[in-house]
Amino acid sequence: MTTDDTALETYLLASMRLAAHADPAPRRLATDAMAALAMRLPGCVVAAPADLAAASGARADGRPQMHRFAAGETTLDVETTVTDGLLEIAGQVSPPPAPSAYVEIRTPHLAKVRVPSSDGQFAVTGLPPGWVSVAYHRPSDPPVVTRWLRVRA
């Protein structure tokens, strides 16, 4: 079976369920979709995973997961851990940040801002698990944002 056949099989099944009202979407799905729009950061530079095999979609399973994102010479290392149902993030931006730079750790429902240390390190706790992205705001350049990463326990 080719990828196209597999896709078609998925779409056929989806259409049959839509027609039969067999599996309606939960109400919160629309709220989540609307929340995504607020995550738009015009003019930002998207940092792609530098190690795709270890990148987004990983389940933390209580162990730290390392992710590296890069855009040009800027690198963001993001370590994620889910502890007691909450997401913790420790990270580092490089090269070392300018004094007025800051990092915004974003989820669709909650964002926290941290000023990185002089060597670029930052940390945050108490975020809801799920989709997360780090935005690195620099004083004289466009913000760099990581691709969205899903982290679940």
Binding site: M1, T2, T3, D4, D5, T6, A7, L8, E9, T10, Y11, L12, L13, A14, S15, M16, R17, L18, A19, A20, A22, D23, P24, A25, P26, R28, L29, A30, D32, A33, M34, A35, A36, L37, M39, R40, V46, A48, P49, L52, S56, G57, A58, R59, P108, G130, W131, S133, V145, R147, W148, R150, R152
Partner: protein, 185 residues
């Protein structure tokens, strides 16, 4: 640049709350159906759908054909679902392409237009023309989104190992029927 939602043209570079809510109203249920049909449970399917919306926010400036934005959303949902399912240890018939390495990342699957309730209603009429066990098997999978092969096997008194191959064969027969007698959409 424009895309079509409910016969209205909306500037893509003006994705305000109204335009976005139109997109959500038009495609969210379809994206959910795609994520679930790709084999995800409800929690992972919700993540896959929200992930696709976030990818749209992330990629909106790079989409080549704004008129295909619905197709792009459903394609991205399916690929995201395959990726999340793979991470969760689910088994899939083929290894899903990486969302970012795949050369067609920004090119939607050509068949997403069939993800539509009207098309689905006609599909049901084609399913009723199938012989057994295909008719019953496809109905069971369509009407029981959380059904797994073992449950379908027990219900139909078939060996568990035969369900996957039979389902593929039945889907192929349905596609043949569709090719012989296409659904208008």
């Amino acid at each position: 640049m424009l895309f079509e939602v409910h016969d209205e043209s909306i500037p893509l570079d003006l994705l305000d709350d109204h335009a976005w809510s139109e997109l959500v109203a038009c495609f969210n249920s379809r994206m959910w159906a795609v994520a679930r049909a790709a084999g995800l449970g409800t929690a992972d399917a919700a993540d896959a759908v929200q992930g696709a919306w976030l990818r749209l926010v992330e990629s909106v400036d790079r989409i080549r054909d704004p008129q295909a934005i619905g197709a792009w959303l459903m394609t991205t949902t399916r690929r995201e679902a395959l990726r999340l399912g793979r991470k969760a240890g689910q088994e899939f018939p083929t290894d899903p392409p990486d969302l970012y390495e795949h050369p067609t990342f920004l090119t939607p699957d050509p068949t997403t237009e069939i993800v539509d309730a009207d098309y689905g209603r006609t599909l049901w009429s084609r399913v009723s023309r199938l012989d057994e066990p295909c008719r019953t098997m496809l109905r069971l999978f369509a009407l029981n989104p959380d059904a797994r092969n073992a449950q379908v096997a027990a219900r139909m008194q078939l060996p568990v190992g035969s369900v996957g191959p039979t389902k593929k064969r039945c889907s192929a027969k349905l596609r043949t029927l569709l090719a012989e007698d296409p659904v208008e959409h």
